[in-house]
Structure formats: C-alpha cells, structure tokens
C-alpha cells in the first residue's frame, strides 16, 4: 500500500495511498497524497483513465505530543474509472522547502463492473476486504493413504479487530482418516496474504489420510466471528465509536483428487502400508526348553499410515502353541503425518522338542515419494527346543500325544543308521511274475498227476483177469518157487509140489496139525464153502503128485502139472 516518495531531506515523506488496488468499473477509488511537512505547489497526477468525482479535499493535522510535533497534510481525490484494464496513477509532486518531492506511481486493475457497487466505508466492505479465512492443503493430488495436511488460517488486518470467534461447523472428513492437531492457544502472528501484510491466526490443523480414490470433497470450516470496527461516528470525547458486528465466514470447500496406488509391481502381500518404513522380526530366545515360552515381535517403524494397516501374519509350524498376538502402537501424529512404530507380539509355547523354523515374514509398502513398492523380509530363524517329549507318528496322534507326555518323555532325535543292506531299486518283483503263478499252480498239477496214479492202481486191482494172474504169480513165487527150480528133476519136483500144496493149505487155512490126509483136506475145504469141483481138482492134484513120483513122466507133463497147481491154488485163494 505504501508508495514511498523520494525523501531528500531527513524525515520528509510524501506518499500516495489508494483505498484498493482492484476495483470494478462501477466502483469508486479514493486516493490520498500524504506528506509530513507542509509544502506548496501541489501538482496532482493526470489520473488518466479515471474521472475525478470528488476532491481535492485538503486536510491538515498538527499535534504536539511531549514536545514533539507531528504534522500531516493530505490531499484526497475520489475517482471512478472510465475504462477496464491496468491503469497507472502517475506521480504527484510537491515543493517542500525548495525541494521537489514525487510519489511512486500506483498500479490499479479495473475489472468488470461488480453487481453491487460497494461503498468503501461501509462495514460490510471493510470486513470483506480485510478478513480472509484460508484453507491451505499440502497436496491436492495425494496417493491413497498418503498423508496430507489442511491448515485453516484466519487473516485480518487493520482497522478490524476480532474480539471473539468460534467454529460454527467443524468439518467432518468423511472418506478420510483424520487427526486434529491440538492448538493450545490461538496466537496472532504477522504474515502476508497475496503480498500484503496481515495478522494471521492458525485456527485449526488437521492431518488427513484419504481412504478412497477419486475426487473427494473436503467439507468447509465455518467460523462465527465478532468483529470490532471503527465507525464514522465519534463519541463525546471525540473518539471514534467502535461498532461490533458478527459475521460467519467459511472456507475450505475443496476437492481433492486421490490417486490410486499403482497396480504395476504391486506385491502380493501388500496390505496398504504407505510411507517409509523399516521392518523386523525379533526373537527373544533361540533355544529353550519345551513348555517354556518365547516371543516373536513383528515391528514396523517409520513414517506413514501406521495405524491404518495390519501387520503381516506369522506362519508357524503346527505343533507350536501360539497365542493371539498382542498389538501395541507407539505413534505420534504431527503435521508431517504419523510417526513411530507398531508391533505385534506373539507368545509361543512349544510343547514338543525339535527344531522349528520361523518362516521369513515379508512386509511390503508403497513409498509415495519414490512412487515405488518396497518389500522387506525378515530373515529365517530356527528355534531349537530341547528336553521335551516328541510328537509321535501321525497315526493315532491324540492318544500318542497324551501317552508320550508321561511315559516316553525323553525320546530324542535318533541318530542315523550305520549298517544297511542295499538292494537294487528296480528289483524283480516276485508277485505277479510268471514264476509266481508257475509255483502257485504246479503243486496242483502234481496233485492231479498223483491222483491219476492212485486211480490207475485202483483200476488195476479191480481188473479180475489181471488180478488172478498177479495172484498166481505171487503165490507161485511164495509156494511153488522150489518146485519151479526142480522142473528138470522129476522126483524132487513132485516132492516139492506136494509139500508146497500142503504148506499152502497150512498157511492159508491156519491148520496146525501135521497129519494131513485127503479126507481131512476135503472136509476143511468144504467147511470153507468151496465148490465140489475145486475140492476135487485139488485132491486130484495131490493124488497125481503121489502117482507121478513113481511113474514115468515127461517134461511136458511136469509143466502141465505145475500150471494146474498154480491155477488151482489161485482159484482156491480167491474163494478163501
């Protein structure tokens, strides 16, 4: 606002002040040329593009305070623009004590006609012109879950004074995770707004994490303010009467375009962490006794939406008893976002001895600054558990578990076996082989052969003609053997034949007596129910033996008698 003039002598100032720099075509502008020493020969500028509607009005004020004089002389013009565009109020000049002083040119922008021409002195106009509520948004195009901040600042300047203020409507940030940063005391500071000096009050600070993609609108903040502004009236003592007016002011209806996280290169285990993080899995024990407990901490440290994502789950062997993880957060929210660490604390109790691998856990996050995904992996660790029972084989697990707890409590990992019978892998399989079927069926074939042999024997024994022949053979071998040997010697032959016949009867009929005669024999044989003819032929044979001993007989006759004896014996034998 200040156009500082050339100051040739010390303390002399000559300046041009305008009521506003931008105005509508149908509005008025007030220009003051102020000097602090009296001068003559004031030459106003040409006011090209303006029409002078009032003035020049001259006013002088002269006062002594504590012996110190302060002087001011003002020429005032009221102008109305005649054309649109950028206009310049050129230099005015004055002669003070023989020196020529000039003001700086002032640039004025003339816009389209405004609907309601405003009176620069009305309170409405003053408030509108000198009070601004501004929402400053750090990033209007954030990624999903990237922190943005909204700072509401209230700018005001003289002649306004704010005596009271309260929020009519606090914005509810739907679709955002929001955190309001507490401001303990409102403080008035110096600041600039659009290049001009203002007093600033930071009214509200919020950190927002967008939870949805697309165009999201921010609800505005409305403040109800009680404003004191000087009126034109003066009280009895000449002081200006301060007028109070209340005003509701709104700001911050903004649209934020939330970008989705890039799909390209998105890791499978991405759970929505956005920021800069560090990840670690910490084990408090590497080896322990069974039924003692150990802890695994999954910890994420860094900057980002710490409260808004889940930690990756720990994958553990089935035989470990795992309790629900204890979640703890140590997060501070500042204007730059959330900062700190979150952790999941798993308490694990191994019940059986053995080695338990803790599979590496990977944690992925998106860094909005580098616009890239990062994956951090914890290293694989192994917990060694000693001194407990072993889980037995998978079959009938339940009973084994309880059993082994008591009985078999120090079953440890067994050592390798030192002796082995190595066999060829591709072994000839006996089952289903030709040899197998051969060995399986061959005994039955043998059995069939065996049965056939037995049956043949039976058949032979049943054959009458054959059996007689065989019987005769046998009998002749037993009884007529001697007779057969002596076929050449007549006397001996018949002697042997007779003895054989007696012997046969003795053996067959079980007769113990030695005195055989023909009648006795006949009686015996009759008793055995032999037919008359057969008895007769036997007796005849005996008689023949006796006769033949003393009579000439040929070899042929002897052979005949031998054959007859054979047939008689075998006939009788069958009947007996």
């Amino acid at each position: 606002m200040m156009g500082i003039g050339k100051t040739m002598a010390q303390g002399v100032s000559f300046e041009a002040k305008v009521s506003k720099r931008t105005l509508g075509l149908n509005e008025r502008l007030r220009v003051d040329f102020i000097m602090n020493e009296n001068g003559d020969d004031f030459t106003p500028p040409a006011f090209k593009g303006f029409r002078v509607v009032g003035g020049p009005n001259q006013s002088i004020s002269n006062s002594w305070v504590n012996g110190k004089r302060s002087f001011s002389k003002t020429y005032t013009y009221f102008l109305t623009p005649t054309q649109k565009g950028a206009l310049v109020i050129t230099q005015a000049s004055i002669d003070i004590d023989g020196e020529i002083y000039k003001t700086s040119p002032v640039r004025i922008t003339v816009t389209e006609a405004v609907e309601v021409p405003r009176d620069p002195n009305s309170p409405e106009y003053l408030i509108d012109d000198n009070l601004h509520l501004v929402a400053e948004i750090s990033n209007s195009q954030p990624y999903l879950n990237e922190a943005i901040t909204v700072v509401y600042k209230l700018y005001f300047r003289n002649p306004l004074r704010i005596s009271d203020g309260r929020a009519v409507e606090n914005p509810q940030f739907a679709d955002f995770w929001s955190h309001n940063i507490n401001i303990p005391r409102l403080k008035v500071e110096n600041g600039t707004y659009k290049g001009e000096a203002y007093n600033v009050v930071v009214w509200r600070k919020s950190v927002l994490y967008p939870q949805k993609t697309g165009k999201l609108s921010l609800e505005p903040l409305s403040l109800s303010l009680v404003i004191e502004l000087p009126s034109n009236r003066r009280d009895f003592f000449g002081n200006r009467i301060v007028q109070q007016s209340s005003r509701t002011i709104t700001a911050g209806r903004r649209t934020i375009n939330v970008k989705p996280l890039p799909e390209k290169g998105k890791p499978a285990n991405f759970f929505g962490a956005v920021g800069q993080f560090d990840f670690d899995a910490l084990l408090n024990k590497k080896s322990l006794k069974a039924t003692e407990s150990f802890e695994i901490k999954l910890k994420v440290t860094g900057n980002g939406n710490l409260k808004l994502f889940n930690l990756p789950k720990l994958v553990l062997p089935n035989t470990l008893e795992v309790f629900e993880p204890e979640h703890s957060e140590n997060v501070k929210t500042t204007l730059s976002g959330m900062k700190g660490n979150i952790q999941d604390n798993y308490t694990i109790v191994p019940r059986f001895q053995g080695k338990y691998p803790i599979a590496p856990v990977s944690f992925s996050y998106f860094d909005p600054k580098k616009e890239k995904y990062f994956t951090l992996r914890s290293s694989e660790q192994i917990v060694d558990v000693y001194g407990g029972p072993v889980v037995s084989s998978s079959s009938d697990k339940k009973s084994a578990m309880t059993n082994q707890l008591i009985t078999n409590s120090d079953d440890s990992f067994r050592f390798i076996k030192l002796n082995s019978k190595l066999e060829p892998i591709v072994k000839k399989v006996f089952w289903d082989s030709k040899l197998f079927y051969l060995l399986l069926t061959s005994p039955f074939l043998l059995l069939i052969i065996f049965v056939l042999i037995i049956q043949r024997n039976l058949k032979i024994s049943k054959d009458v003609e054959g059996s007689r022949l065989r019987l005769a053979n046998r009998l002749s071998k037993r009884y007529l053997g001697e007779a057969k040997k002596n076929l050449k010697n007549k006397g001996r032959f018949y002697d042997a034949l007779e003895r054989a016949l007696y012997n046969y009867l003795k053996a067959r009929l079980k007769i113990k007596t030695d005195d055989f005669n023909k009648n006795k024999i006949a009686k015996f044989l009759d008793l055995r129910k032999l037919e008359k003819e057969e008895i007769q032929s036997f007796i005849a044979l005996l008689e023949n033996c006796e006769v033949a001993r003393y009579s000439p007989a040929t070899d042929v006759k002897m052979q005949q008698d031998f054959d007859q004896a054979l047939s008689v014996i075998s006939n009788i034998d069958k009947k007996l």
Partner: protein
C-alpha cells in the same frame, strides 16, 4: 519231479540274491561319517549318489531324511522319511524322527478316525511286503498239496482225518494270504501318495480360477493324488478334504528319485 526241484532251487536263489548284495558300500560309509561331522550337504550328495546308482534301503532313506532335517528342508525330509517307512513300516527310529520332521511342517492335518475294522485290515496287510505275501501263498500252496496228497494216499482212517483237517486249514490260510496279496497290490496301484513341495499353495474347489479357494496347504504335507486335468491335480488330504491345485509340485512316493 525233476522240474519241481528245479523250481525250488530257483526260489531259493531268488531269496538268496538279496543276501548277496550285502557288501559294505563305501559311499554309504563316507556319507555316514560326513553326517557325523556335520557336513550334511556332502552326506546328502553321497546318499543320493547311491540312489542314482540304483540301490536303496530303508536305512539309506532314513539317513537321507535325517540329513535334510538337519539342513531344515522340510519337504525333502518328510519325503524321504515316508520312503523309509514304505520299506520298513514298523521301525521305531524312523517313526520317531519322522515325527520331528512333521513338527517342522506348517500344516496340521487332523486324521480322519478310521473304523477299527479298517485299522485291523491295514495292520494285517502291512504285516508282510507284497513279495512276502506272494512267497507265503506259494509256501501254503505246497503245504496244502502235500497234505492233500497224504490224505488221498493214506488208507488209515485216523491219519486220513488228521490230514484232511491239515488240508482244510492250509487251504483257508492260502485263500487268506492270496486275497491279502491281491488287495495289497490293487491298493498300491490305485492309490498314489505324494508330498507337497510348494511353499504355499491354494486348493480350489474346481480346476478353474472361477471357483473358490477352499484352503491353503504348505510344504511337507502328505496328499493322495487323484485325478489330473492339464496342469491341475486333484488331491485329498488325510482329513478327507479334497480339492484341486494348480502347478503343484507334488512328488509321488511311488517313484524312486
């Protein structure tokens, strides 16, 4: 009779061959000492060399599994323990160490309770190996035929009666052992088990991605391999749940690798 004695000779030879391959294997010895000094990678390498040479044994698989356990490779360890169990199902050392390896696995599959009859049946089937049942059947056949022959040949009623009873008993035993052998063989061909080697794999309701994910499985879980459709493999786990996995690394326990 001559052919039969030849067959018997062959049988004895067959049984004998396994005893002949008992000479100490240098690689096996070296691997054992490597294991004992903590060089588990070297032990694994040597044990695998024996396997590649075409030889195996329950002890070899057991030692290999132990080495993998020491190297914290869950899947491999469980796989070779299972292989050891196949060859020697009732070895206590194998059962104990196998449970250590099971501890390391992430999935805990609750077993479906089996009816007692099935349990008994499985116990009986596992009493002998496939060839064991085959040999027993052959032996019983010979005993049966021997007694049958005696029964037919003998004429004394008391002996005949005794031999008849013997024949009957051995005949029943033969039927039993033969049917067990058949059941075991058909079971072995029908059901294939495998060990999962994927770190994590999703199990789907249908062999396409439009279906829903039923559950997750991790490395080291024993699954039964059912149907196959392109890159999808149908599996069943011990608690009876079934599903399809895609690009699953399931190593069949049937193969010897």
């Amino acid at each position: 009779m001559n052919t039969v004695s030849k067959l018997f000779l062959m049988l004895i030879l067959c049984l004998g061959t396994s005893a002949w391959g008992q000479e100490k294997n240098l690689d096996f010895e070296n691997a054992n000492s490597a294991y004992n000094t903590g060089q588990f990678e070297r032990a694994v390498m040597l044990y695998k060399k024996i396997l590649e040479e075409g030889q195996h044994s329950a002890e070899l698989y057991f030692n290999l599994a132990n080495s993998y356990y020491r190297l914290n490779q869950v899947g491999e360890s469980i796989f070779y323990f299972e292989k050891a169990k196949q060859l020697s199902p009732n070895d206590q050392d194998i059962i104990v160490n196998s449970s250590f390896a099971q501890n390391m696995a992430i999935d805990a599959v609750e077993l479906l309770p089996k009816p007692q009859i099935t349990q008994l049946q499985e116990k009986i089937i596992d009493l002998l190996t496939q060839d064991g049942w085959a040999f027993l059947s052959v032996l019983l056949t010979w005993i049966l035929v021997f007694f049958w022959g005696l029964y037919l040949w003998n004429n004394v009623p008391v002996f005949k009666r005794i031999f008849f009873v013997f024949t009957l008993v051995s005949g029943l035993l033969l039927i039993g052992s033969l049917s067990t052998a058949f059941i075991k063989s058909s079971k072995a061909t029908k059901t294939t088990y495998g060990i999962l080697f994927n770190k994590k794999v999703e199990v789907w309701a249908e062999p396409n991605k439009r279906a829903e994910v039923l559950f997750l499985l991790h490395e080291g879980t024993k699954v039964q391999m059912l149907d196959q459709l392109q890159e999808w493999q149908k599996i069943r786990i011990a608690n009876g749940s079934e599903g399809w996995i895609k690009d699953g690394e399931v190593r069949s326990l049937k193969g010897f690798k």
